[in-house]
């Protein structure tokens, strides 16, 4: 085919159009804006069925712009009737909004709105995926392993909150930027993790979530005022992880754990990017959990084989991470690392001290770790019984298959 449409062109343009229009019409009109943008894409889809434009991206930008102007005119006509507003130079201002840096500016504003503290965390992610990343409710539900109905409720609550609190489509005040940015990073981090650690059956969804988190992180890094050690470290963390996203599942969509992954398939350009970002992070004075998590990810990447993994160093990073931000998952990871180091007692002690209720849906990892402990101690009966517990705890078919395979290996 002569004209290849850029991947995710529609999705990215959706976010851009919604952001520009919101800048013009304000957040109170977000529902109308989203409908109008959606409508534009449906029209484009029908029109492009038989004849693809020479440059789809330029075409879409032009149509988006025209549609924006149409909307503006109809709204202005309405206003003129009511307030008799004098003609402004709106079309000129509008043109400016389509410049690259203004486009990015609008999208960044939307990120801060999505991560506004008035919104609940679950609403923040759903809203961000919808308005910034152009996911449908169905796609968000699939991505977050939630019901579509729940996502609809979260989205409408988010919009109600935005309107009720009269949130402005603006950046936070200078003295609030760091606090607000911390929340933005958390939301990006959670979005990425949903893609990377969740065992969503749909590989494309996993990739899309990671891709969006990386794209938005990159967008933030473009602005000097948002840069920090933490933001660079977060970007490094994403890139380190993303470099082995492909290798995490095989062609049959089965989980391949890091021990079995073909290290040659890890994507080198991303690793390089991560290293650059990590060095940048060190130029700043702030320290964050992302620094340690990136350091841990880097350690795994550095090892030429699984056996050469520097577990000592990884344990040090986990210990520091746990000091900075105590977390049950970090403890669980420390237990796993201790088992790798053959510090059996230390590992088991940590496991014994954990409370399963903190682990939520990932409680199977806890049972899996006990299984690992007993396997290492050659107590196959207990190891298998813990694997069975792990299997019955997870509802995810990929994990179930993975654990069952492990159980069969032990039984033989």
């Amino acid at each position: 085919m002569e004209h290849k449409i850029v991947d995710h062109l529609f999705r990215h343009h959706y976010g851009k159009m919604v952001a520009i229009l919101t800048r013009f019409f304000g957040l109170s009109n977000i529902e109308t804006i989203e409908d109008a943008v959606q409508d534009t894409f449906i029209k484009a889809t029908l029109q492009w069925r038989t004849r693809l434009p020479d440059n789809p991206e330029a075409w879409l930008t032009k149509v988006a712009k025209n549609r924006t102007i149409d909307l503006l005119r109809s709204l202005k006509a309405e206003r003129n009737r009511v307030e008799k507003l004098a003609g402004t130079s709106a079309p000129i201002q509008l043109n400016d909004l389509f410049l690259d840096h203004e486009l990015e500016d609008s999208q960044l504003r939307m990120i801060f709105v999505a991560c506004h503290p008035k919104l609940k965390p679950t609403e923040q992610i759903a809203f961000a995926l919808k308005t910034i990343s152009g996911f449908s409710t169905k796609e968000i539900a699939a991505a977050l392993l939630t019901k579509e109905d729940t996502i609809n409720k979260r989205l409408s609550r988010a919009k109600q909150t935005i309107i009720a609190n009269k949130l402005k489509f603006d950046f936070p005040h200078q003295n609030q930027i760091q606090d607000r940015l911390a929340r933005v990073m958390e939301v990006l981090y959670l979005t990425f993790n949903e893609g990377f650690h969740s065992t969503n059956r749909d590989k494309l969804i996993r990739e899309d979530l990671c891709g969006e988190a990386i794209r938005l992180c990159k967008l933030l890094l473009k602005k000097e005022k948002f840069r920090s050690g933490a933001l660079y470290a977060l970007f490094a963390l994403f890139c380190f992880h993303a470099s082995r996203l492909e290798s995490k599942t095989n062609e049959a969509n089965e989980i391949v754990d890091i021990k079995e992954q073909d290290r040659k398939t890890w994507y080198f350009p991303l690793i390089k990017m991560a290293n650059v970002a990590m060095n940048k992070a060190m130029e700043y004075e702030d320290m964050s959990i992302y620094h340690y998590e990136a350091a841990i990810a880097a350690e795994h990447i550095k090892a030429k084989t699984f056996e050469e993994t520097n577990w000592e160093k990884i344990l040090t990073w986990y210990t520091l991470l746990q000091e900075l931000k105590p977390d049950t998952f970090t403890l669980l990871n420390m237990a796993i690392v201790n088992l790798q180091l053959n510090n059996f007692d230390a590992g088991k002690n940590i496991l014994d001290g954990l409370s399963i209720s903190d682990l939520g849906q990932r409680a199977y990892l806890y049972y899996g770790s006990y299984a690992e402990y007993y396997a290492k101690r050659d107590d196959l009966i207990l190891a298998i019984s813990y694997l069975e517990k792990a299997i019955s705890t997870t509802s995810n078919s990929l994990e179930k298959a993975y654990l069952t395979k492990k159980k069969l290996q032990l039984a033989n």
Binding site: M1, I42, T45, R49, T50, S136, E139
Partner: protein, 115 residues
């Protein structure tokens, strides 16, 4: 060779709430199909239809506005192709992209009148 109309029936994309990503995917498939038929020289034309409807019914010429409640049965567009017979058009229709959305292709031969 005869001319046939392939009529596409199903719910409108609006109704289905497709995301931008899905729309782009659909469009790619439609384009590939149209492109394929174009290259084979069998595609004679076609249009997509706007989903709003005006319907005039009965001797009173009662007018009603659609889309109607059962919009799964909406005609979304058509293609006209040249083929040996209806079976050949059934083959062509294998590439119609929207079967998974519950879509239907209806194949009708275009009537030719004696001169």
């Amino acid at each position: 060779m005869k001319d046939f109309m392939m009529i596409f029936i199903g719910a409108s994309y609006e109704e289905l709430g497709l995301s931008p990503e899905e729309l782009q995917g659909r469009m790619g498939k439609w384009f590939a199909w149209g492109d394929k038929m174009g290259k084979q020289g069998i595609l004679k034309g076609g249009e997509a239809l706007v989903p709003t409807i005006k319907r005039v019914v009965g001797k009173d010429r009662t007018v009603s506005d659609g889309p109607f409640a059962d919009s799964k049965e909406l005609i979304g567009g058509y293609y006209i192709v040249t083929a040996e017979n209806a079976e050949a058009v059934v083959e062509i229709a294998q590439d119609y992209p929207d079967y998974d959305l519950g879509g239907t292709v209806e194949i009708r031969e275009i009537m030719v009148f004696d001169q």
